[in-house]
Amino acid sequence: MVLCLVALPVFAVLSIFSVKYRKLTKEAFDCLFKTVTFRKCRSGLDNRIRAVLTGRIIRLSPGIAKIFYKNYKIFSWVLFILLVWSFYVSFIGIHNYILYGNCNGPESSGFCIFDPTGSNSRISEIDYVIPANITYPVLEDDDPIIGDPKAELTIIEFGCYTCPYTKNAESTVQKIIDYYNGRVNVQFKTFVIPNHPFSTESALAADCALEQGKYYDYHKLLFDNQEKMNYDMLISLAGSLGMNMTQFTNCLEDEKYKFEVQDDTFMGLEAGVPGTPTFFIGKSKVVGPKPFKTFKNIIDEELKK
């Protein structure tokens, strides 16, 4: 009976692809149904599976086949436990995907079968060991706030202007701000990706734009022109917004906000940011450009607190 229980979901999945497994699925179900209704299961399906498996193992090693045959019930229970475990893992995976857009949870950028291209989870990774004891990032007055400054909840985003995944997340960030209509805002902290050209320079330039009150427009222009990012472009974009170019150029060349950018990046490292974009919503961490519903689930919980 134990093996019928294991066989049922296995055959059920296989029967999607091959009709020959449908009869076996029905047999396994009948067997299970009869057992739970205290009737005798006469299909012999478990015995057949035992015989076939033993026969296959004989080809490789009669000795191992003998061990398997003699300890069949133990193997059945092991398979059953593995089945229950895999059900549990699958359930958690599906649950995580529905809630967070990734099977492994909001903090993961790992592979998820439901999102094979990783569109919800890909990040610009950095090569460092995430500290065991992380320090949650804090809001700082010198970092820009996107949205209503008086909002009840502030999401801290670690992003990079040269990171395509941070760019992908921009539309979601805007949607969050629009959807919550003043209740939620976002503080953007620059997180330098060392192997991305102009990662530091673009972060410095954004702070220089903030100095002239042009941060929000410049922030948007940086992402819009991400593919052709270079030093001259950082300056020309500032010019297009009517900034004081002498002030801007000096600010950028002198690396005026170097320590500010370094502090933000360091804060991210201490908070266990694996790459960009990474978001902190209260104590929850969201890694990658997850879909809106992922943020909404967490934000709604935070707003209830």
Binding site: N47, R48, A51, V52, T54, I58, R59, K70
Partner: protein
Amino acid sequence: MNVEKLREDFPILKKPIIYFDSACMSLKPRQVIEKVSKYYTDYTACAGRSSHKFAHEVEIQVAGTRKEVKCLINAKRDSEIIFSKNTTESINLIANSFGLKPGDEVIISDKEHNSNLLPWLKLAKKGIKVVPVESNEDNTFNINNFEKAFTENTKLVSVVHTSNMDGVTNPVKEIVKIAHNNNAAVLVDAAQSVPSKEVDVQSLGVDFLAFSGHKALGPTGTGVLYGKKEMLEKLDQFLMGGETVVDSTYTGYEPEELPARFEAGLQNYAGIIGLGEACKYLKKVGLKNISRHEFKLNKMLSEAFADNEKISILGPKDPEQRAGIFSFIVSGMDIHDVSGMLSASRNIMLRSGAHCVHSWFNKRGLKGSVRASMYLYNTEEEAQAFIDELNKILKF
């Protein structure tokens, strides 16, 4: 008999299989397959009804098969050969047409296939007594018990010729003699014997004999009932319909001549024509050669496991008495496990279960046996592979 050359005639043997389930279903040679196919591609038609070219061809071919079957079992007349669906239908024809009345008795052996048990048990509900004859301890036929089973009410003896369960061949000639001395007719279930040994109905003296085409290299859905002309003429018609009557009115009908009166409705012409080709093939190979070959393989298997305490062979120890059937039980191991393992490990195709002889196994409290049934296309290498694989399992 050149088995390797002969195997080339069986397209299915190109697959990496060891087919040891011929007692259930024989494989088909190319000649039979082509003959069946030819009916569908060259002259698909009805026999005995239409008068066009195709219909004539079908009639010729069906008549040819009847002659082939007649020759195979040495019947006296073509009209003594009735085509049916299988052995089961042939036996049911007799059970329903013989005219048994309440109080009449039918003797059977104690290891009949359900096909030769259930038709009689059904009649038992109408007051006909079914008398099973207990076999000897080694499963051979007990003539003394048989003789004692007769009463003045015994009207029919219906016994298996070669058992599908253990391969034991019953002494039909002696059975017939005793039965006739007691004024009882004899029906023989020859499903296993006709494909593998020379069966001469005249020499045996049987009144009726039934066998299937599918166990004798022929297509599925083909069977034969042989009956002595005078016995067949006494039978009531069983199935009624097209071609069983010469004429009919709203109040009556005039039965057809033999054998048409027992072949109701449109027949399995393709199958029957294929059966004719199978008979030709068997005769070409030679039934004596087939018997010898089966014995040789069974001897190999029997000797290999003769001293193995874990194996119990059903039937007598002497393989010569068990035709091509090696039926066994492995102590401490489920029969289906054994056949399943051999199938999975080396594609050895066996049958496990009660082989439709539930009554014999039930009486002994057994679930069944594993049966290796060999035929003309099996080789000594295959027998050796079976021995090697079974030996691995016996070490469990």
